[in-house]
Symmetry: C2
Subunit: 318 residues, 2 copies
């Protein structure tokens, strides 16, 4: 099919930026790809991996003439990146991002962008615990959801820009949902941000526990711990920014999590076995839904290596 | 090689019991396998899957003449199961279990068993989120650790029994470690029990959150949540028993977890970004150790389906 955009510029070449470049190229969605990253080593890898037709450190040169610019930097770095690009943006260009927080990021984008471009904040909900240009792969977005949080604008040209960006994400293999930024931030706080925080936290608690060595923690990780170490291996800078930028929703969900955990803690202390059993039974429903919606495979690798023979995908226990 | 035991009886035919049966059979470790389970449907599946030479509901008949008896029932059911077997146990038989808690279970086993058998409590640290006889597979224990917590007995015959049980687990492909029950319970509280509790808890918190539908929680699970739903899909009865039976260690670790989490919460509230970054950076070391020790594969399926092409196994982020 004909390219959807003449020139795509990707600001920031981490896991997401490099995956977008690889997927857009493979699917022929854009005429030209320009990649910018301020890190020399990252640019070297991006060049070696042929992620862009051009790889440059200079944002202003990078965005020159682009009709689609995607900002894929940590969320607290978005505002400055857009400000650096602003004077050189082509009028009518579509500006979007891939930040995991939308409220504060949308404000930063809107404040820094010139009035003659279309700002359409977005967030592809896909990732691995790996970081950097070498971690990218073209299939990352297939079957995953990308959420767009358009600014409130009653403007047919803006609506057209949203439609073009939607077409781009669909062409990358993603499903697209539109919602307001505040709702996005609450949904992600509970499905992603707080789960990452508690994964980081339990790994830290284990490392600090007197009488238990880190070696023991690692040896016996098959008991469930290793899924937490995997999540807690994600990029620290990206996550630091997310918690600062989505403070309100994260603190709200954390408050509820702690309240619920204390109820479980009390049930354990007072041997309220039925209360525990009821709570543990409910969560299976959610698991079934996650599998049914194709957001995970019923054959997980939890508890064994992936190359082992496993049980029937749907044992009586699931 | 010659069978290590003439007759193995497995009490309880869930994921672990059925996996032991399949592995012992495939490796020719025992002359005969008898499986008992009090559930009719489970016995039907066990028979259909040919898990034992005999499948019976009757523990007393099942343990008759066995020189190795493995109790693989929920930890709070261990005492009653051993009591039912006691009058029919062959003198000199080795009695062990696979419970995830060792302190209270060792006491229950020792109290219910006759004096002329050898009680050697054990715990294979392996599992999946699946339950029941259909979930079992012969490779489950390969490369995993089995912890034995022998009773304090200065007795050469008892030492010989421990050595024979160790040989059995090694022959199943496991690595064997010996430690005291209290240390086991603390190590497992932090690497398995509390991680499961907080996974159950966040899934419950998400399900209860007003303004966010369960459908949304499931749709956007790729953000990290799905690893928690996987863990939280484990058998509710087994886990209810574990928390009641390992109350002391679980409450101790939970207290530290909550304390650490509140420190992170405070850092978020007060924008202490550096404190967050430091904490998140530390946990990567642990992840590297888990991979180095072969307790997980660097190519995890977190963030994508397992059949997708992935990035190089060792991206710069790991």
């Amino acid at each position: 099919m004909a390219p959807l955009f003449e020139r795509l510029t990707i600001i920031g070449c981490g896991l997401i930026g490099s995956s977008i470049a690889l997927a857009a190229r493979r699917r022929g969605l854009v005429g030209e790809i320009v990649v910018t990253d301020r890190s020399g080593p990252v640019r070297e890898r991006a060049t070696a991996l042929k992620l862009g037709d051009r790889v440059t450190p200079d944002i202003s040169e990078g965005v020159d003439g682009a009709d689609l610019v995607i900002f894929a930097v940590p969320v607290l770095a978005m505002g400055a990146a857009v400000a650096a690009a602003a004077p050189h943006l082509r009028p009518g260009a579509i500006l979007t991002d891939v930040g995991s927080v939308k409220g504060s990021v949308s404000d930063a984008l809107a404040a820094a962008a010139p009035p003659d471009v279309f700002v359409v904040p977005g967030h592809p909900i896909a990732g691995t615990e790996h970081s950097g240009p070498d971690a990218g792969f073209a299939e990352l977005f297939e079957g995953r959801w990308t959420i767009l949080t358009p600014l409130a604008k009653d403007d047919p040209d803006y609506a057209e820009a949203v439609a073009r960006l939607t077409a781009f994400w669909l062409a990358l293999g993603a499903q697209v949902e539109v919602m307001d930024a505040a709702h996005h931030d609450l949904v992600l706080a509970v499905t992603s941000h707080v789960p990452h925080l508690i994964a980081y936290n339990i790994v830290g608690t284990a490392a600090d526990l007197e009488g238990v060595t880190e070696g023991e923690v690692m040896k016996y990780a098959a008991g469930g711990f290793r899924d937490f170490t995997r999540i807690a291996a994600s990029d620290p800078t990206m996550w630091r920014d997310i918690f600062v930028a989505n403070k309100t929703a994260v603190l709200e969900v954390l408050g509820r999590f702690t309240e619920d955990l204390q109820a479980l803690q009390r049930a354990i202390r007072w041997d309220e076995a039925d209360k525990l059993h009821d709570r543990f039974s409910r969560t299976r429903e959610i698991r079934r839904g996650v599998i049914a919606l194709g957001q995970d495979s019923p054959e997980s690798n939890f508890g064994r290596d992936r190359d082992r023979k496993g049980p029937p995908g749907d044992g009586p226990g699931t």
